[in-house]
């Protein structure tokens, strides 16, 4: 990857609302070229989506999250892709990952209450043919998400002037 593309991706990863003009200032590229590079990155599906991290708890909207680990039974001609597709189509399911270790798949489910999440898992997930067993862990507090720390950032303590 060339230096400018790398810069643009890092700038947008940090702030999806960075304007082309601002990116141009930071990279030394003309605005038109910045726009071209971003369009290509979108077209090539390197930039998949522009997203906002929201602290729903701060917004007064309480969501309950749970991480559910699944053991699955694979059938002939049906790999993990098939079960993954069935899982990610539920809007309640926020993430689906194939994992190593005691379980095969880890999903994150969001609901309005523990009861709602528990019922969703019992009715929609545990009942899937390929799902052999589930292990549900409710999230009590999220400290860091996608590299973003929800607590106040550490403040650097520096002298205002130094040589």
């Amino acid at each position: 990857m060339d230096k400018h593309t790398w810069h643009i991706l890092e700038i947008l990863e940090e702030n999806a609302r960075a304007t082309p003009e601002n990116i141009a200032s930071q990279t030394g590229l003309p605005v038109a070229e910045v726009n071209d590079i971003i369009s290509k990155l979108e077209k090539d599906k390197i930039i998949r989506k522009y997203k906002t991290i929201i602290d729903w708890e701060q917004a007064g909207e309480d969501y309950v999250y749970a991480i559910i680990e699944l053991k699955v039974v694979l059938e002939r001609k049906q790999g993990y892709q098939t079960i993954a597709e069935r899982l990610y189509k539920f809007p309640e399911v926020r993430s689906v990952r194939l994992i190593s270790g005691d379980h095969d798949i880890s999903i994150t489910v969001r609901g309005r209450s523990m009861k709602e999440v528990a019922f969703f898992v019992a009715e929609k997930i545990a009942t899937l043919e390929q799902v052999h067993s589930t292990s549900t862990h409710f999230v009590l507090k999220t400290y860091k998400e996608d590299g973003f720390i929800f607590d106040e950032p550490e403040k650097i303590k520096r002298l205002p002037v130094s040589p």
């Binding site: 810069h7 890092e10 930071q26 990279t27 030394g28 550490e154 002298l159």
Partner: protein, 391 residues
């Protein structure tokens, strides 16, 4: 009743030749102001990466609180030696040619004291870091300054160097990438300097603490030039590259004769660098490269942002290729550096450092550090623009 004394009578004469730091004077003004944006800070705005801090905490828990060898922990010296071998293809024996010091400031003091006899002249290329001239004076030497120019990208030329050499000249202090200008010297530039150094049998003290923060071209380590290894005392450290300023940890590299002489002073004045900082430095060299690369890319973006902004405002700004400083000219405003910086602070609450703090060659310029967040740089640029438009 005993006779009262005047303590100032006891202060050594040679200290009276050293004026107080111009930065210190500015510091006192800044501390009294509110809502200030500071572009006056010569250290990273990153907190030391967590893995380094965590390893230091762990080392304290494990009771690693003793003195170390005067030279520093051998394992750290081996890491430093390996780094220079791999990165610059220059070899230093970790047993005798690497000295771990309490910051580059100590390494600089040791280097000068190790080679300077009373009356020896040491050439200091300016604008440059504020400690070089006083360190020469403290050692009983005579500082001789060379003023580099923006028209020559703040590089020193062989002719400028030749013009100030005489029979008393002992050494030359180089600092590229440079604080405060951000200038760099490429290999060909340095080769020409090396020729003059050899012709006149000089030593070079090369402060390369910003070597990792080179954004265009590759940094050339002075001692890696042919024939220069034994003529160079190379100074480097962890403050800028790994955001470890407060740890005070750095090193000097050179021929064993020179390094052992520096160690002689170090062992009686400092004994050793703090062990926790040494262990932190080892962790930085082992696992710090990803964080370092990320910091470099971010500084590069800020560099573009501030240089673009200053030029847009009409303050002609030389394109810095290293360190984290922009050095715009404010000559178009008709003010001196101090007038501009003080009025800017008073009017718009933006701190910059007058260029002449770094030597007379810096008159007419400002040092603007971009080791601050992009939001603050943007805000500072807007305020500077407002100030310039008023004047």
């Amino acid at each position: 009743m005993r006779t009262q004394c005047d303590p100032s009578c006891f202060v050594a004469d040679h200290l009276k030749k050293v004026p107080p730091s111009g930065i210190r004077r500015f510091f006192d003004i800044v501390c009294e102001a509110d809502d200030v944006i500071s572009l006056g800070v010569g250290e990273p705005d990153y907190i030391t990466p967590w893995h380094i801090r965590e390893s230091c905490i762990h080392s304290i828990e494990q009771g690693e609180t003793s003195y170390t060898s005067n030279y520093g922990l051998l394992e750290l010296r081996e890491q430093i030696s390996e780094l220079f071998s791999k990165k610059y293809n220059v070899e230093y024996n970790p047993e005798s040619e690497v000295l771990v010091t309490t910051g580059v400031s100590e390494a600089l003091d040791l280097a000068i004291r190790a080679i300077v006899n009373p009356g020896d002249e040491v050439i200091v290329v300016q604008p440059s870091y504020v400690a070089y001239v006083p360190s020469v004076i403290f050692a009983g030497g005579v500082p001789v300054t060379i003023s580099t120019k923006m028209s020559n990208n703040f590089k020193i030329t062989p002719e400028e160097l030749k013009n100030v050499i005489n029979e008393n000249t002992k050494a030359v202090v180089l600092n590229y990438p440079n604080n405060p200008t951000g200038a760099t010297m490429d290999k060909a530039d340095l080769e020409a300097i090396a020729d003059v150094v050899v012709d006149n049998d000089l030593m070079v003290i090369s402060d390369e603490v910003y070597d990792c923060l080179t954004y265009e071209g590759e940094h050339t380590c002075f001692s890696s030039l042919e024939g220069m290894r034994n003529r160079t005392i190379l100074l480097n450290g962890f403050s800028k590259s790994y955001a470890m300023t407060g740890f005070r940890i750095a090193y000097a590299l050179g021929d064993s004769e020179i390094i052992s002489s520096m160690m002689l002073i170090h062992q009686y004045t400092m004994l050793c660098a703090p062990i926790v900082a040494q262990l932190g430095a080892m962790e930085a060299l082992r696992n710090g490269n990803d964080e370092l690369d990320k910091m470099i890319r971010e500084y590069d973006r800020r560099r573009n942002l501030i240089v673009d902004g200053l030029n847009r405002i009409g303050l002609e700004c030389f394109e810095p290729k290293g360190a984290f400083y922009a050095f715009p000219s404010i000559q178009s405003t008709g003010m001196t550096s101090s007038e501009f910086a003080e009025n800017l602070l008073d009017d718009q609450k933006v701190v910059t450092i007058p260029g002449d703090v770094f030597g007379e060659a810096g008159q007419g310029f400002l040092r603007c550090s971009y080791a601050t967040s992009k939001d603050e740089i943007q805000e500072a640029l807007e305020r500077i623009e407002t100030f310039v438009n008023k004047t």
